[in-house]
Symmetry: D2
Subunit: 356 residues, 4 copies
């Protein structure tokens, strides 16, 4: 029988040699199913807006911090500014007349607009006006800045894979000069960016850009399109045509027109609509998600948590925790997740919502 | 030294044993560059229309022949009804009130409409109204029929990979009953098919149909979309933005929204527009193409051939023959080719038109 | 009711305009299942050897014909030197001291040796000695020649995709100078080529050649390896381990170590062994095959044909014709087919032999 | 100008709301190039062996801890038992007559043997004897156990992607019963596992196993094969044939015969040999590596670190840190890395060693 003193001495010697036994750690390292350190958590829109406005009054935008963005920090992740172990979610705020400076990085990013307008995201010199409901993907490696030429402040949600790339040490970052991104006097069109004009039509791709790399050339997915697609699914359902995920639950996924796959290499983005009185099926998947309520109100169950959510509220679904959404009034939900990482590496299991 | 008699006897014995020496055949079998048996050839639209109308008066549509389609037979292909060694092109004609019966086959197909309306192509029970400028792909294996519920005849161009699949012996064909394709009383919508309503918006795919097979779910690419995309490219060019293939030459490729690749597994389809006074660069590629003039007029050079072409005219570009199009008045060209076969098998070389 | 004269006049006018109605041709063009023009056919080894030897005596090798190869001409293919609509099979013969000159071409090729040795195939300057049972793939685009430095003639089987590439007009050919392929004094190693030394070990690839194109770098698959793999499968079967295709039927497929896929982009190659008393299941597939008996004797049924085959005999299985092999004495069969074409284009159905 | 009190109050309110500003964290989150928390670090073989032997004396193997494995804990990773942010490396030890129990998990794993024999790894009922120099990959999801039927203890190195899968919350684990893996009386063959007998020959795959999933079916890569491949490269180099990575530096990568790609979906494994007097070029790459000296001695520079390493020593190269190895005496190095993660997600840059 082992002497406890002997064992203690052994463990001390191991620690001194930078060695750790598996048998004392296996429960946390190799749980029977994913057991995330992240919590199911909810941030209210009013809190996010309030924080953004105060930052707008107190903190300059520009070199050093690069962006006036405030990250949603999951309470389970030890004080890191990470919404989930792989995903970053932040609210960004730009005052009238402000510019967020040009830079580029290996992280994949997107913007999603809950309300307001007046800002343009400029990508490689192409200015894209941002409006409520728009989804703007931003694949890693492209120069970009944000320009508020209007007379009002604006805020939006940034989503990135910062936690993931930080963890695997694949992050590159480079500040730029205005000339890297269309110059100081960038012209912001009223309606459509060049990207939309070249890539914004279904099923037709410009022959002039056949040999693009994997970057998504479509820089914005307009709300009008998303809204119409969701409305159409519900209408088809009423006509008896299979079009929804489950009764009363319409959903679309944003795709890269070059590949038909996800809009970003590491991030999936979707829009969901529940008809009044409808609910989702209960589901769970490998990998984490962040949801934002775009409009309406719903009851949400994530694992053991229960919330009532409404416009602008953001909540997190950790890996393998079950999710159900029920909406008496009807609800529109924006969602993003790390599913492409799981799928590309063969680690995915069944999708969150099976089609019924 | 070999005795000629001995050699003759040897060749006779070989023939009797179903054997043929390489050294007597190598020039045709293994030319230094592709030397197609197909000819560069032109069919005029008036001739095609005239043939279709006479067929409409003389020949019934229906079981037996299945379709009232008349194939363009390349003069170099020994009397076969093949436009090129891999591609079938035909004009199909349907009288007021006629139905072309339900069937399905392994061949990939499409319809392209030069003029007229009133017919719907019905695919797996989804009726798609056809109108001028529309491109309707039809991947192999789907039930389909054509329904003319109008009071006027209509004709259009069919493109298929019949010659290719006939050659490699991969052809399956199955006649159907009306119940296989929406029944006898199929409802034809005024505007949009279900397919368009689910798949016709850029960058958004229905979550209800994530696990589709490789079949293209988008059953029609509308002229309004194609036209706008081409116009936009020329406008961007005027603004100094790289958008065209070469000066004054706009072009789009029809793509499958599920994969971002070609609209059909064996057939590429594109639309080209030359601004008045513009011309294409000279190019050639491995594989054959069929062009149809949609609108306008142009001077075309294919290998040693020179033609003036106008609305509705169809011409063939055999493999590796050079092509140049010059248009004083401006021209819109529809094109289809066997490029996906070449690319999937690693046999392609440079594309027909390099981007400048 | 249509006047027959009117119809005749119509058809004449169509013919004059290079137009052919579908309804008169559809039966051959679009059969309900593949109905190949090719026949099931058998060539005896003695006939092939006899033809090769006579050619060796009567016909020089070299520029002009390039190779002293005699093609197996399927009786259903109208006098073309094609074994099947897609595949070329020929016996090649080289006298003591002869060289078959350097060339390269887009066609994919292989050599398979039934008996003899003394010749080396030289690929991009790497000399590969050929011996009984060896399979030597030769992807398109590589310089190659054949060198007989021995004092005896040698013959072997060439397989290529000439008919397929001729049909789709993708053929390029280029004669070379000796300096393109190792020079006139090429050193032929006794045992192993450079290719085998770098690529001939399972599961290990040289880091020095990570960025190769799709060409197969393994230039020969030695009989010792194939034989051992087949023997092992039958032994495992006796031990009760699932290892054979069906009872008594062992089989391996030759694969490209870079991709794990077929040894050539358009040609599949396999080796099959039936234990004495065993038989294959009955099967058929989309696409055509050529078999050669390597050793032993068997009863073969292809569609309606029945043959007894033995060492060196070659037979053809057209697309979708059923095949069964029964062997009282045991038999080793080499097989090649056009399956990669079918699979890459999505035209394949079930494989010839399902695993039981 | 902002009042510091006001700012402090703002930051406190943010913290209370689980919000963190980007501008205070961006330097660590988005460095200009990867700046890993992991350190370049070295563990000596004697220390590892000593720890393993003491564990063998003090700690039982079996349910609860599952394995008597001691992890190498990178001093930069805050006390986690992780060699790098993505990779686990441990020494495992099994006494004479011991069994490590059956389990399976989503983590991908391998074993690598520096010295000793007598243990078999059993995978889905197939017992694989382990010997010096052998590399045994173990794709996620397969039942496995370790059996020491000999009269001596044995230890080896385990490599897994535990840190990566723990971070992204994709971990599943399931204990098994003996019957899940061949039973208590598993027969260990003297030489070859079934896996080797079916899959251990280059370029030939069993037709009976064509439809396998992505799991690597080759369960062991034997030292004799690796050694011969490395020796051959150095010999070819002497003959003037391009075969090495750089002068005197031979290297192979272990590949999955089904795909030609890496032996495991998330882990790359390689073997390197430096001829006496040779050195590697200096290189760095995105992603981390673990090296173990198999034989010989070398001077290693990783970033600012300099070590002399010899048989059994293990060292870590964090992401983007430069590496050079110089060896007066000659050295054999085993290496594993997370490169497949980077490559599958499009995050890789140039490889560690460019070929010269």
């Amino acid at each position: 029988m082992t002497n406890q003193n002997e064992l203690d001495g052994f463990y001390e010697d191991l620690a001194a040699a930078q060695l750790i036994p598996l048998w004392t750690a296996i429960g946390d390292l190799m749980p029977s199913t994913p057991r995330s350190h992240a919590h199911a958590h909810l941030w209210s829109w009013s809190e996010l807006c309030n924080a953004a406005e105060r930052a707008g009054a107190l903190v300059p935008v520009g070199r050093g911090g690069e962006r006036r963005a405030i990250a949603l920090a999951n309470p389970g992740l030890g004080g890191s500014p990470f919404a989930t172990p792989t995903l970053w979610a932040a609210i960004q705020y730009l005052n009238a007349g402000e510019h967020a400076p040009v830079h580029r990085h290996s992280q994949h990013a997107f913007r999603f607009v809950i309300e307001g307008e007046g800002v343009a995201t400029v990508v490689n010199g192409d200015a894209v006006p941002m409006r409520r409901g728009d989804f703007l993907p931003q694949a890693g490696g492209n120069w970009h800045s944000h320009v508020n030429n209007s007379d009002r402040p604006m805020s939006w949600i940034d989503g990135l894979d910062i936690p993931f790339q930080r963890q695997i040490d694949s992050t590159f970052f480079q500040p730029g000069a205005p000339s890297d991104n269309g110059g100081d006097d960038i012209v912001v069109p009223k309606e459509h960016s060049r990207s939309e004009r070249l890539w914004g039509r279904a099923g037709v791709r410009p022959l002039s850009h056949v040999c693009l790399d994997a970057s998504n050339p479509l820089l914005v997915y307009r709300w009008e399109v998303t809204d119409a697609a969701l409305a159409e699914q519900l209408e088809l359902e009423l006509e008896g045509v299979p079009a929804t995920v489950s009764p009363g639950h319409a959903a679309i996924r944003f795709t890269n027109p070059v590949t038909g796959g996800d809009a970003l290499p590491t991030i999936r983005a979707e829009f969901h609509r529940l008809r009044p009185g409808a609910s989702t099926t209960e589901g769970r998947e490998v990998g984490s998600s962040v949801f934002q309520v775009f409009e309406g109100r719903a009851e949400v169950a994530v694992g053991e948590q229960r919330w009532t959510v409404e416009r602008g509220d953001v909540f997190v679904v950790p890996s393998w925790q079950s999710l159900t959404v029920v909406s008496a009034a009807g609800v529109d939900l924006f969602r993003f997740s790390d599913s492409p990482i799981m799928e590309r590496l063969g680690l995915a299991r069944a999708p969150l919502w099976d089609v019924h």
